[in-house]
Symmetry: D2
Subunit: 383 residues, 4 copies
């Protein structure tokens, strides 16, 4: 077995939610070790957070700039192999670009950046420097999502006709941001989040559609809403989709659906069959071939294939969840880094994680949805 | 107990599907007796079908005109109390209007007529003559749909914000109409059906939304498709909805979703709670009040109310289905006829069945969806 | 189409539950007409109930003896074709035997009679006279139960190894019988019911096991309980089953499981596959063949066969329920009566309804379970 | 934050399944580090496995005896804090006893040992030495199991009347052990496993029943089977349970139920309510209070309490699975070790993990079930 890679983290300190998930996910397979961090935009809090987590004092940085500077100056074999950036959205672009340019591999949270200008710049930088760059559209890490994508690719349902995707939450059904709740605070602040429900969860749904179907979105028409009075950002959207080649779709996202926890789901109807998957019951994939009864596929069960099995750690029937899926994104990045170092062509998971291009496409999708919404629900094409 | 009413039927002979359902539904509670019919547009087939079903020879008519004529001339106490019209869509308007004008109560299948001009004329005739007129949007007959409507009306979920409705079938995923299948034949023929998926099933979804939420549709934007090559009519649509007062919605209907049998479902999210119901599991209604766990309500179980109980024949846990729901529409019509005769104000089920106004609203909805679709997905208001 | 048969009913008057279900079920397909009755053991109530239901005065009898006498003296073509006996358990045997001996076909509720001596006498009488005799183990009327039975018979799951059956209700979790509730009253009265949960619902589970697996029960060991203080009869039992040939099973029944409405279910594991069915979601049957994913079969959907289709009235996806399943028992009886009259060998549904032998086996099962329970849970063989 | 503890492992090398799960689970929260091992009973394989996993050469031991010896001689601050023993069942007792006697805290897989003599000796040793001793009845680590246990303890369902537990798998439906499959090999070998389905999975079900209900088993009656020809060990059992105080239960376990992956479930019916939980959908707990609709509780959702929340890492709706539940057992052990070191009274998770007493009770349960089975299904009391 190879040595674990080492990584640092930007953001993810005290009170953060997703940082801890990244650390569990990155280290689940003992293929990476968390060794450095600049865990908050407030230097004191950054250092205190790093202490909580047992970082060595000399790699417990006050700012990401400091981390970048010091790590760059360590001998290559002793610097972090990659950095995970898990700050609020508005603080993605600068550190990501800087680490890329300095030659570090990067894992970045979604939505990648605030606008497509930034996205294009980041893509260009990644292309130029050639680092591995993963974007944590973590839901695509679920084994049954990989299974679904493989089945579509292999023709199990024939050419896709119609896609239904939804992502419904209810936690913002009231004006939670006015209570001081940290997550609600930045996620509903246009300056820090860029977009609301569309950026936070609609972008996950877009990525799921794209990953599973492989279709290219041609145009869309969106009805974007802010239902909660006093809120400064969108909290709901419904989007009609038209794909190149004639497939169509509907994508809805909402954070005001009382009682919904994390109801992300997709249904893909092709000429010869249908696939259906729900994030809250992620270990199953329903598959109905034309003229046959619905089959309930499980991770490594019969009728499922190598795509799911390769992303699975334990036997079917033993549920895997969110953290394991998240960890699959990291496995992909880690394997891609190793492949690059060893001059191998990446294969398997190393080819399946969402990249800077998925990130850029997602940013463009969010932009266009909001633009269509502002125009009262006009059809817009995606170049 | 009152004497059962008597009824005749137009359409519904040999090879028909829905006619037999109407007869079972109408007679399930022994409150109506099937005594007359003009069961096919082909006179010989009409008479043969009536013979199959045991109609007396003198009330087994060759045409609906003959039935109307003969029944009108019978003594009032001996003529049919109401007529059920279950022909293909294009053959609804004429007999419906004629029976109404002759003073017969009418039950008519949906979509009610082919266009809003006909619909308006029928509404005017019903208003003028004052007969009872039911339209078999049968899904609103389910007890848990009545429960949901009562809960929305009583404020259980607060003002509605977002409605999700879908109706997915797969039986027309191939060009079944080219095989000689009778149902597929007329339902995909523009001349006989008027509209395809939008009229056949989208109209049911519209009625379900309207019945449960009580909202008035203000405008819509539709993407209407014909996915199966060679088909002459729509087989799929996705519709964005905006209601008076600010609620929004998404309604999708499709007959090309392989593997879907009769997947009609609705989810209504209000400021204070959410309701969710699926036709294929009709005996349950999920209710999530703000800040509480989801409750699974059953027909006459705890936490459900009188609206569901009044439409229920047997204890919860003993499933009721499609026929029983259909029969509830008939119970409503029958009770309304009796109330009218006895000079009573209708109450309970007699006020809950879909009327000529529901039918007219449905026709207008179908028209507008198709118009929006033809315009490439333009927003249109409903006057 | 043949003329509908006519039938009379013993029991099932005002306040009764199951009588109305029998009338709906018997007449659902317009193949039988309810024309006579002795609807209560209280003559005045009997007559009042018959009036409610529109019985002709001369066939609205005060007692079943009167009905038997009068109907027997009518000309054969004008007497009832069969009688449905829907009284409490203790009032099954006498009228059933008498009608059989008089040559009437009979439909009788379960448990058939109070003990196996009565059961044997009834079997002998039916054999001697040769009438059609159906016992309303109505759950076996569900299409997917017929599908399951056909699949076991056809070897789809190989030889059966293990059977799990349960029937859980919660309505007797408190001492409801002390409140004057009529159903609870007789069902918990040893004199009128004979047995409690074991007779009322355990017998249904036994019949379901027998019908689907075709296995012969060899021995059993039962733990029988009365959980509610003050109750005079069993309200819960757990039974280990051993079948001839080596298969084994577990059958549990309880009426004190709070929150359970009518949770009857069966799971049959064979050497080559498993079947699973639940009464509260009766339109689906789960089938897992060895080495393949679970398939969800629907009534007339793909991968289901003629057994289910023949017992189905409407397309899959349009739910059928309890009444429709009950009606299938009546269809079987009616078709058997017709076959007998016309000298035809019965086929299809006419061979599938539960007969006097199912009834006798059920009585013996109940006896043995209670006997084992009284002995503290001893293994007993069934001869 | 405290420093992570360090641990060693006995067993769990190449080809093992559960060892890797233990390592992921122990380290998920970064509260423990895997630093030593004797990973196989074959010294060469042990060392090779340790190399795979990056163990330092001087702590990559050839045998557990060597590990015990060397670690014991390291300075206290540098020796492993605890040892995880994940060998096949027959190789549990010796190392467990030895490490306990040497003062190491221990985590041991279940069933703990092969017989109650060994179990009693181990209990005595743990009591004498005072180490922390956890047994990985990992299913009790699920948040909703903790929630259920807390609700029963708090009276939410009143005194328990009836418990239904089952654990069904299908992977041994054929004679897999004859194919050379390693897991099947030792698990069906009486010498190495001690018991078959009863020990492997029945013991999990027993622990789940005991953990959630808090009831003490008084007596049992078991029907134990070996369905697969040629198999040397039990592969199926059905057990009737009687608890002190009058509650009753049924526990079934089987490894020949084709199509079942890991179907462990429990349903507890009390005088005032019912709880139901299924391992394959572990993030939900159904709760039906008397006279109210069923509620679907989620990990940290409304109506759930602190017991679930304390065992949860991420928000409800983001599924947690098997590994996370397993990790909760480790968290409990780790917190108990820390509490002991710091002289604190253990609280929360540190009081909830299964201990040597759970292990001993489980061994006794397995013994009695097999004894009852050998006696043809006789009732036996548990002292």
């Amino acid at each position: 077995m190879s040595q674990p890679l080492t990584f640092g983290m930007v953001g993810g300190g005290r009170d953060a939610f997703i940082g801890a998930v990244h650390r569990m996910a990155a280290q689940l397979d003992a293929q990476a070790r968390f060794v450095a961090g600049a865990l908050s935009s407030t230097p004191e809090k950054a250092v205190a957070s790093g202490g909580d987590l047992g970082l060595a004092a000399d790699r417990n940085y006050r700012t990401w700039e400091e981390m970048l500077d010091h790590e760059s100056r360590r001998p290559p074999a002793e610097r972090i192999d990659f950095v995970s950036i898990v700050t609020p959205n508005h603080a993605h672009f600068e550190p990501a670009l800087a680490f890329v340019r300095a030659g570090f591999h990067v894992v970045l949270d979604k939505p990648m950046v605030l606008n497509s200008t930034q996205a294009d710049e980041l893509v260009a930088a990644v292309d130029k420097v050639g680092v591995v760059f993963g974007v944590t559209y973590n839901y695509t890490g679920y084994p049954m999502v990989k299974q679904a994508a493989a089945m579509v690719r292999d023709g199990a349902i024939g050419p896709v006709r119609k896609v239904f995707a939804h992502y419904r939450q209810g936690w913002l059904a009231t004006r939670l941001e006015s209570t001081g709740q940290k997550q609600a605070g930045w996620r509903t602040d246009p300056a820090r989040a860029g977009a609301g429900a569309v950026g936070d969860i609609g972008s996950h749904a877009e990525n799921l559609v794209s990953t599973i179907t492989g279709l290219t979105l041609h145009s869309l028409c969106a009805d974007v809403s802010t239902f909660v009075p006093g809120r400064a950002i969108d909290d709901d959207a419904s989007v009609l989709l038209r794909f190149a080649g004639g497939a169509k779709g509907v994508l809805t996202c909402s954070q005001v659906c009382v009682g919904h926890e994390n109801d992300l789901a997709i249904r893909v109807c092709g000429e010869k069959g249908t696939l259906s998957w729900r994030q809250e019951h992620p270990n199953h994939l329903e598959f109905t071939p034309m003229g046959a009864a619905t089959r309930v596929l499980t991770r490594a069960g019969p009728d499922a294939g190598p795509a799911a099995a390769a992303a699975t750690r334990i036997p079917s029937g033993h549920p895997e969840g969110f953290i394991e899926a998240f960890a699959n994104v990291y496995r992909g990045v880690i394997e891609a880094v190793r492949a690059q170092r060893e001059g191998r062509k990446p294969a398997g998971l190393a080819t399946q994680f969402p990249t800077v291009r998925d990130g850029a496409r997602g940013v463009r999708f969010v932009e266009r949805v909001l633009e269509s919404g502002r125009a009262g629900g006009r059809w817009l094409t995606l170049e």
